[in-house]
Structures are given as C-alpha cells and as structure tokens.
C-alpha cells in the first residue's frame, strides 16, 4: 500500500511536468491545427537555459538558492518564450496557408536544428546538477517503507497549480484569451472581425514556450540531469497527454498529463521499466484509434 502511495505521488509530480508541456501542444493545435513537432525541444531548451542561467548566477555570486531559482525562472521563461516566438516566425508563419505537410516537415527540421544547436553549443554529454532543494516530509512509515514527498515535489505541484489557475484566468477573462478562443473557432472570421491573428498566434506560441520552460526547470531540478535529447521522448509523451485529455482543451492537457504521468510511473513500478515508453506510445495509439477526441475534447463535426 505504501509503495502504491509513493508511486501515486511520483506519478502526480511527473504528470504535472508533462501537463505543462502538453498545454503548449494543445494550444497550438487548437489555434492553427498544427502539431508543433519542435515543442518538446523547446522544453529541452528551457531546461538548458535554466541550467546555464543558474550556473551563471552562481558564478557571479548569487548563492542564495531561493533568489537564484526565482531569477532562473524569470530568465528561462523569458528567453524560452523568445525561442518559441522565433520558431513560429521563422518556420511556421510563412507556411500558414500551405498544405498540411509543409509545416510538419518544417517543424521536424526545426526540431533537428534545436537539438543539434544545443548539442553543438553545450556539448553532447549529459549535464548533471546536484540537488538544489533538499529535504522533504515523510507521510507514512510502515513496515520499513516510508512514503515520502520531497520539497521539490511539493514545489512542482504547487507551481503547476498556480500556473494553471493563472492561465485559466488568462484564457477566460482577458482580451487575449478571448482572441485566442476566437481564433480557435474560426481563424479567418476572427481576422475579419479585427483580431490581430498574427499577434494572437505568436502569443500562443510564446505562452506555450514559457510554460514548457517552467516544465524544463522542474525537470532539471527533479531529475538533476539533462541532455539535448530529452525533448523527443518527453515531447511525444506530452503530445500523448494532450491527445488523451482532448486536443484543444486546456484542462484536458493537464488531465492527460496527470494520467500519462501516473500510467508511466505505475507501469515501470509494477511491470517493466524498459517498456515504459512503449506504454506511453501504445496509449497514444489506442486513444487515437478508439477515442480521438480524447476525454475532454469536443467531438468535431466536419462540415460537408
């Protein structure tokens, strides 16, 4: 039982990270109907930027961890958002009118560029970081097994909840959110009624990237090690989460993220750790075959 609870906690934490990345996928797909293949690598860039920023802060003498992390958060979010903006401007916007495959190939190309850019710039070796936020709490202790929740885990979940709340407010109550929802419904019509669709789409990418950056930071703090390839698998899993929850739905992205995180954690805990990626991919396949609109998605009626 204790083992189960521990896995539950671990799964929720992992799920939060996936959920934050999934939001980026679902927002972009909702607004321009495109799978941003490079989004997973934006997450990876965010992790790297956080790492470098942190090391730089240490080097110039900012050693107080809370302050450093706060600054890292701001810097990484801002710069990753810039990456998100740049990717959209360079690789997707010029292709907005063309056929389906063009932005997909462009996105794959972008993904390759980002991975190799980071690999060249920072080296191919993994980057380890010693644990920065030590400590935690023991919830239950029985039979020699302690169910623990570490401070970093608490921070991850709390941060995610805060961000989700802020973000939901943003989408439902602000003009930007309204514009985003309008573009999601009908892009051409939105532009005809005066919504600046270029700006709205750019902001969608920017926000998605910023959230991915937060996920990247949390990944870095949680696992303590990153390399230039983490974007690919995390990206597919986060996309699976977005689809599972219902592509285009924000609460769906979060829900999907949690589910994927839980499934992956329980699968590797109770079955086999080697095949845990297969579990995620298989879920993707099954969901798309049997439930393509996902759990919270809206069924799409195609107008003939």
């Amino acid at each position: 039982m204790e083992y189960f609870l521990q896995q539950l906690i671990n799964g929720i934490v992992l799920g939060s990270i996936y959920g934050l990345v999934a939001i980026g996928y679902t927002m972009v797909y909702g607004i321009i109907g495109m799978i941003n293949f490079a989004h997973g690598d934006i997450f990876m860039v965010g992790a790297f930027l956080a790492l470098i920023a942190f090391l730089a802060l240490i080097a110039i003498g900012v050693t107080a961890i809370p302050l450093a992390l706060f600054l890292v958060l701001i810097i990484a979010m801002l710069l990753t958002a810039l990456y998100g903006w740049a990717v959209e401007r360079l690789a997707y916007r010029p292709l907005r009118g063309s056929h389906r495959l063009a932005p997909l190939i462009s996105a794959i190309g972008m993904s390759i560029i980002l991975q190799n850019y980071v690999q060249i710039a920072q080296g191919a070796r993994v980057k380890p970081l010693p644990p920065l936020i030590p400590g935690g709490y023991t919830l239950i202790e029985q039979g020699g097994f302690a169910v623990q929740v570490s401070n970093i885990q608490i921070i991850i979940v709390v941060t995610t909840l805060v961000l989700m709340t802020v973000f939901s407010w943003l989408v439902s109550a602000t003009a930007l959110g309204r514009n985003m929802r309008a573009c999601e419904q009908d892009l051409k019509m939105a532009s005809l009624v005066g919504v600046d669709i270029d700006r709205t789409i750019s902001l969608t990418f920017v926000i998605g990237a910023a959230l991915a950056a937060v996920a990247g930071i949390m990944y870095l703090l949680y696992y303590g090690v990153i390399d230039f390839f983490i974007g690919f698998v995390a990206g597919v899993k986060a996309f699976t989460a977005a689809v599972l929850g219902g592509i285009g739905s924000l609460p769906g992205a979060m829900l999907g993220g949690l589910l994927i995180g839980l499934i992956e954690t329980f699968w590797s805990a109770y079955f086999s750790a080697e095949y845990k990626d297969v579990a995620a991919f298989s879920i993707l396949v099954l969901v798309l075959i049997f439930m393509p609109t996902g759990i919270l998605g809206r069924p799409e009626i195609e107008k003939v």
Binding site: G33, I35, F48, L51, I52, A53, L55, A56, A59, I75, L79, L82, A86, L90, A91, P94, L95, S98, H99, L101, A102, P103, L104, I105, S106, I108, G109, M110, S111, I112, I113, Q115, N116, Y117, V118, I120, A121, Q122, G123, R125, K127, L129, F232, V236, F239, T240, V243, E274, Y275, D277, V278, F281, S282, L284, V285, L288, I289, P292, E302, V304
Partner: protein, 441 residues
C-alpha cells in the same frame, strides 16, 4: 511600384531605404542576442572540481549576432532593391523549358547511374555512397506511394524497413533461404504488417495519422531492442549471408564468381553487384508506381489526396484504397530492408530510429510529392550533401535541419512541384503546384 519598370534590371539605388533596413537588421540582431546570449555566450562544462561551471564565450556570441545583423541587412536590401531574384519563382513551375529539362533529366540520371560502377570502379567510397543514395531513392519512391500519391502522412516508414531487414536476417539465418526467396517473403511480411498497422488507423485525419505512425515506428523499435530472445536486442543480428550472383558466391574460391567468369578476384565485384541490385530494385519500385498511376487504383490514390470526401461521394471505398497504398509502400520498404540487411551483413535497432523515417519523409516532401524525379534530386542533395559535409561532423545535422526548414519555406510544395496527368484526350498539360495549392488541404 510601377510595373513598367520591372524590365529594368538596374538597381534603383535612389529607392534604398537604409534606415528601414537597418532597423530591421537591428531588431533581428536584438532577437538573436536574446536567443544566443546564454546558449552560445556561455557554455556549461565540467570544471576542475568535477561540478558544472560556466565558461564565457563572448566572441562566439558577438560573431553570431553580427552574422544575423549582416544577413538580415542584406536580405532587407535585396528585397527592396528589386534586383531581386524572385526566389519563389527561381525554379520555374510549368514552363516548356522546364518541361524539356524534366523529361531529359530522368533518363540522363538513369544513364549516369548505370555507368557509375564503370566510371568509379576503383573508388570504393563512391560506390558505397552510390548504393546509399540509391537505397534512399528506393525508400523515397516507396514512401512516395503513401505520402506523395495517396497523401497519407506516414512518419513511421522505418518500421517497414526494419521488418524487411529483420525478416530477411531471421529467415536467412534460421532457414538458410537464399536472397531471392527471402526478398519477396520479406516484402510480403512487410506488406502484411502494413495492413495490420494501417487497418485501425487509416481513418484518422492528417496530423493524427502522422503521430500514430510515428508511435508505431517507435514501438517496433523498442520491441526489437528489448525482445532479446527473438531479435538479439541491441546487439543486433550479425553474420547475415552475403548476396550471391544467382547462387554463385562472390568469393575467391574456384566456384566463385571471379573464377567462373574468368576474372581476377576482386572484392569490388560484390559491391558492383549490390549497386546494380539496388538500382534494379529501385527501378522496379518506380516502374510499378508509374504503372499503378495509370490504373484506377493510382487515380483513386491521387483523388484521395485531393479530397477524400469527394471520393467517398463517388462510391470509392477509401479505407481499402488507403490500405492498398499503405501495403504497397510497406512492401517496397520491406524490399529495401532486405537489401540493407544483405548488404551490411549485420543489422541492429540503431539503424531504425525515427530520424530515418523523418529523413525519408523529408526526401519525399522536399522532392515534391508524387514526383519521381523530385525524389531522386532530393535524395542526391540530402544524402550526397550529408556525406559531403562529413568532415564537418557536428554541423551537418544542423545544416540538414536548416535545409529542411529553408526548402519548405521557400517551396512548400517541394522542388519538383508539378503533376503530370495520367491520361489525356488531346494534350498532356503539366499541372503546376499553384493549382493544387488551391485544393482543399
């Protein structure tokens, strides 16, 4: 801008708005600074203490930002100057001159290919490169049936390549069957696999299909890696029998190829044979594709790509049509996989990563969907170019990705973006991509 001046090629220097161009460039440089500041300006390295530290590289950062500034300035000025080469039209779409070039190009390339082993007999490196390019051409032509003709987004083509390779390896090793028996068997297995995979997923829309096929490709690779008892896992399968010349082995023995034909033994014989073998397989793929294009099934594939709903309204069972495309593409992928296995003598899961699928897809799309010549050109450029940049190691993938993005942005429909009708009453008119662009999705 007055159209009357378009015939005047001299730059109208009076019209250069340096201020605007500079502003553009400055903005680009500022963005570049933001992007490169941490990533290029600093580098995380393991310091003396064994822990990570940052090392600053201000020169690299400055150089990169300067490069962006200069580049953007140049682009802005060129755009203003109307000395402009209209890049979008640089490769003419459907003019008669281009058409003559196109008709001439394929036979010329074929002739060249036939002569390669003769011309480059002593250059083993070049022969190997030729085999590699032809393998990708075949894969491209195979995937072309799925993506180019039928318009199905397949991001997992490598799965069929893997099935073909592993089928061949396992059949050859466990049952001792010859290449000529294993090849069709591997193709059939791959086709069956294609049908199995395709059946549940082909009703999915565009992007979703792409992701599902990607997932399938990854699942197959992970299973291969982990199912050690069957596939030998990450160690791969070695000792795969080498090809023989219809039963005559390519060795130095008295019964060997060299001895039989009165030649001096040379390991290059086998390579030349492999070259012509892959050339033949690739040509088979192309021949079948061109033939099928003229038949109802091929026309149905192209109609499917244009508008699936219209197809269904005409009574076409689009599920079967898609499955057929998928299975055909899978079969040729399987053939290519068999060839790969016998050529290398050794296969491992590392050869079947997602990147391969992406590469073949890129070849098809960049070449221009449905175009046989386009695939050849794209394969030559990508694979040949890739090899050419081998000395640049790390940078080649970066250049590769950049090329993908750049070509897509420049010509979203690919390099050879025209379509030849499969049947005509009076005159075969080449259809340019612009028309197809207006099609629904």
């Amino acid at each position: 801008m007055a159209a009357a001046n378009e015939s005047d090629p001299r730059p109208r220097s009076a019209k250069f708005d340096f201020a605007a161009a500079l502003k553009d460039a400055a903005l680009a440089a500022a963005v570049a600074f933001g992007l490169f500041s941490l990533m290029l300006g600093l580098r995380s390295e393991t310091g003396a203490s064994g822990r990570l530290e940052v090392v600053s590289r201000p020169e690299l950062l400055a150089a990169a930002v300067a490069a962006v500034f200069v580049g953007r300035l140049a682009v802005a000025l060129i755009a203003q100057g109307r000395v402009a080469i209209d890049f979008a039209r640089a490769l003419p779409a459907a003019t008669p001159a281009f058409e003559r070039l196109r008709r001439f190009a394929l036979p010329a390339l074929l002739a060249f290919a036939l002569l390669v082993p003769v011309l480059f007999y002593s250059n083993r490196y070049f022969l190997d490169l030729g085999i590699l390019v032809l393998t990708y051409v075949m894969l491209g032509w195979g995937l072309n049936i799925v993506v180019g003709l039928a318009g199905l987004l397949d991001l997992g083509y490598v799965a069929f390549y893997a099935v073909g390779a592993y089928s061949y390896a396992l059949l050859a090793q466990n049952f001792g069957l010859s290449f000529w028996i294993c090849l069709p068997l591997a193709g059939i297995l791959a086709a069956l696999w294609g049908i199995m995979l395709g059946f549940p997923v082909l009703r999915l829309r565009g992007d979703y299909l792409a992701i599902v096929t990607l997932a399938f490709g990854e699942i197959i690779r992970i299973v291969i890696v982990n199912w050690q008892s069957f596939t030998n896992g990450p160690n791969g399968i070695s000792g795969i029998p080498r090809p023989s010349f219809f039963g005559i082995p390519f060795d130095s023995s008295a019964a060997g190829f060299a001895a039989r034909f009165g030649l001096e033994f040379d390991p290059t014989h086998r390579i030349v044979f492999l070259f012509y073998l892959i050339l033949a397989l690739a040509l088979l793929t192309s021949f079948v594709t061109l033939r099928l294009r003229r038949l109802p099934i091929g026309r149905a594939w192209e109609a499917l790509r244009e508008d699936e709903i219209a197809c269904r309204s005409l009574g076409i069972n689009t599920t079967n049509t898609k499955l057929t495309a998928f299975a055909m593409g899978a079969m040729f992928g399987g053939f290519a996989g068999s060839f790969f296995a016998t050529r290398q003598g050794f296969i491992s899961p590392e050869s079947f990563v997602f990147m391969e699928s992406a590469l073949v897809l890129a070849i098809v799309v960049l070449g221009g969907m449905g175009s046989q010549l386009g695939v050849v050109v794209a394969a030559l450029v990508m694979i040949g170019g890739f090899e050419f940049f081998r000395q640049f190691e790390q940078f080649r993938m970066l250049v590769f990705g950049t090329a993908m993005v750049a070509i897509m942005v420049w010509r979203p429909r690919g390099l050879i973006a025209t379509r030849t009708p499969s049947v005509f009453l009076q005159q075969k008119k080449i259809i340019s991509a612009d028309i197809i662009d207006e099609a629904r999705e």
